[in-house]
């Protein structure tokens, strides 16, 4: 036991105040770590403050609206509808006024109003105010339920409140025919303003929508844009025509503000090219008669490589090397012929054309800017897309028909493209739009990974579709 104590004491005496200088970089790490902690705490604080402020704002706004609602309901506000709809004796003024307005001029109208007002006296005015209040109540309740209409209505009621200063002002005006007429006119104006504001509110509500989903289809015309090494190009098919492909997809758009929006989605795009006999033909071969061929002069003079082991054909095209899964039917191969330079190659003797089809799934990120914001919106759009190759097929088309013969080698599975376009958007209804959008898409990287080939086509398409705003 005592020995243990001694052991402990020895360790303790040597290690209790043991010091060692730590590496210098730890201080930097500590200081940066402390600063990071402070930043984190600040962020947390501001987030909490933001949430608290938002809650407070929401509470105050809700409370304020409730208070305002109560005040508004107690005010004898004037509206046209209850006056016109109420056939009671007290509201003869307005009934007669409406009838008179059709037949008489404004002067006669004012006289009629004055006459009736004098007959009925002050009581009329008071009861009129009372009636109006009764008929206004359901309108206001409805307005409360329609939260989107609440704000403009409140604005209107505030306007009316300041103008009429409750029912007392009406009592004062009933003795003054000119004032009565102006009151009626101002009432009409106010109703018109109310309607306008309601319409504006509805439009505004519609414009506040933030999201659009849509579907578009587009015919796409592909324009080949490629460059190749000299050796590769010396024996290459000629891309003579480009078939029109179909593309389309689903888009999602988020409106950021009144004019800017971000768009993404998923699109399918087909791209193809048709290749025929080479243009820079090898005259020796082109003009050479092919023994045993009944194809006349319609034959290929493009060199074809044939793998000695697999017997697979490969032929250069502008998009890359076409690899044939097997020697297709309907073509005739000749070797060497009279061209001494073609010892390692064969010649395809056929009138066939090769159609290379590439299919891509495109995930874009576009920015849109509304140039003209009206019934017929005009927008500019641009952005970038990631394109994933999902289809790579080569067909041979000859007088015997069209058949799948292989694929293009070295096609990159992931490509990036840029897009520019002008969008025309027509509102079919409040939320449904018809879109017509010419776009130009150009590939930023070569679609083919072969170092001898740079294949960057661009695509022109007119995207047409519908989008729904919510």
């Amino acid at each position: 036991m005592k020995k243990d104590k001694n052991l402990d004491e020895l360790f303790r005496s040597k290690l209790l105040n043991y010091e060692q200088e730590p590496p210098a970089y730890i201080l930097d790490h500590v200081l940066n770590g402390v600063a990071g902690e402070h930043r984190k705490r600040k962020i947390v604080f501001w987030r909490m403050a933001g949430v608290a402020a938002a809650l407070l704002l929401a509470f105050v706004a809700g409370w304020q609206l409730n208070v305002n609602d109560g005040k508004t309901l107690n005010q004898p506000l004037v509206a046209n509808q209850p006056i016109v709809q109420e056939p009671a004796a007290e509201t003869k003024i307005v009934a007669e006024q409406n009838e008179s307005a059709k037949e008489l001029g404004s002067e006669e109208l004012s006289l009629a109003v004055v006459a009736e007002s004098e007959k009925m006296g002050e009581k009329t005015s008071i009861s009129l105010a009372g009636k109006i209040v009764k008929h206004n109540e359901p309108t206001l309740v409805a307005a409360n339920e329609e939260s989107t209409l609440l704000q403009p209505l409140k604005g209107l009621f505030r306007l009316l409140t300041s103008d009429t200063e409750s029912g007392n002002s009406l009592q004062v005006r009933k003795y003054d025919p000119i004032a009565a007429e102006s009151t009626v006119k101002s009432i009409d104006q106010q109703i018109m303003e109310q309607n306008q504001q309601l319409m504006l509110a509805q439009n505004e509500t519609a414009k506040k929508s933030r999201w659009l989903v849509g579907a578009q289809v587009s015919p796409a015309y592909n324009v080949s844009r490629s460059s190749h090494t000299k050796a590769y190009a010396s024996n290459m098919l000629n891309a003579s025509s480009n078939p029109v492909d179909l593309g389309g997809g689903i888009s999602v758009e988020y409106k950021k503000g009144k004019r800017w929006s971000l768009q993404s989605g998923v699109y399918y795009s087909g791209m193809g090219q048709s290749s025929g006999n080479t243009s820079n033909s090898n005259q020796n071969v082109a003009n050479a008669p092919v023994s045993g061929s009944d194809h006349g002069k319609e034959y290929f003079n493009t060199n074809v490589n044939i793998d000695a082991w697999t017997s697979k054909m490969a032929i250069n095209s502008t998009a890359g090397v076409i690899e044939f899964s097997s020697v297709p039917d309907g073509i005739v191969l000749g070797t060497n012929l009279e061209d001494k330079t073609m010892t390692s190659s064969a010649v395809v003797v056929s009138d066939a054309r090769f159609i290379q089809n590439f299919e891509y799934i495109e995930i874009p990120l576009y920015v849109r800017y509304t140039l003209i914001d009206s019934k017929f919106d005009v927008e500019m759009m641009g952005g970038f897309s990631s394109n994933v190759l999902v289809g790579n097929q080569t067909f041979m088309e000859s007088n015997t028909g069209k058949s799948l013969v292989g694929s293009t080698q070295d096609m990159e599975t992931m490509n990036y493209s840029g897009t520019l376009g002008i969008g025309l958007k027509y509102g079919l209804s409040k939320r449904l739009y018809l879109n017509v959008e010419p776009r130009v898409k150009y590939y930023l990287n070569s679609l083919n990974g072969n170092s001898a080939v740079s294949y960057k086509p661009y695509t022109v398409g007119v995207f047409t579709g519908l989008s729904y705003e919510f």
Partner: protein, 187 residues
């Protein structure tokens, strides 16, 4: 006792200079503490760094009724302990090996350098290392250790005994012959 109040205030205010000064003041000693609880220097550096970040972010909670060094040391120990807990090294270890009692001389240990003793401690299994440190170096009782580590006092005692045995054995293995030879040579 040195008055750290001004420097503490500056540290709380976010002064990097004050933080550097406070760090420089205590870092060597605290690195010594961390080395004792860690299995190697790298782990000790991590603990020292985490410990000082904790010190600076909690400095406003320091009540000036005790020593600052003690408070910082306590943080370093807690960080080290927490690290071992997180690594699940604390509970699974139950050394069943029986160490025969080793004959050693206190003189042998007295002649071993502190650095070497530190290495011996670092070689202990984590729980033994903790118990040994807390009991022998920090002077805590078995009851305090049991509460701290959520173990029984018996386990604490047992772990301490095992730690001692291991240390004795290692002292004998690593330094016994060497020191004996040295003694013989000098004699």
């Amino acid at each position: 006792m040195e008055d750290f109040k001004p420097i503490i205030s500056d540290c709380i205010a976010g002064s990097r200079k004050a933080q550097s000064m406070l760090y420089q003041q205590f870092a060597p000693k605290m690195f010594g503490v961390c080395l004792r609880y860690a299995k190697d220097a790298t782990e000790a550096e991590d603990n020292l760094q985490d410990g000082f970040i904790k010190v600076f972010t909690n400095l406003k909670n320091f009540r000036h009724d005790g020593s600052l060094e003690g408070w910082i040391r306590r943080i370093m120990i807690n960080v080290s302990l927490e690290k071992i807990r997180k690594q699940h090294l604390l509970y699974p270890v139950e050394d069943v090996a029986i160490y025969d009692s080793v004959n050693y001389s206190d003189d042998v240990i007295a002649k071993i350098a502190a650095d070497d003793l530190m290495k011996l401690i670092q070689q202990l299994p984590p729980r033994y290392r903790l118990v040994f440190n807390l009991y022998v170096i920090e002077g805590m009782s078995h009851q305090e250790i049991a509460e701290e580590m959520s173990i029984t006092q018996g386990t604490s005692k047992s772990n301490l005994a095992r730690a001692r045995d291991i240390l004795k054995k290692k002292v004998q293995e690593n330094f016994g012959e060497e020191l004996n030879a040295h003694n013989n040579y000098t004699a």
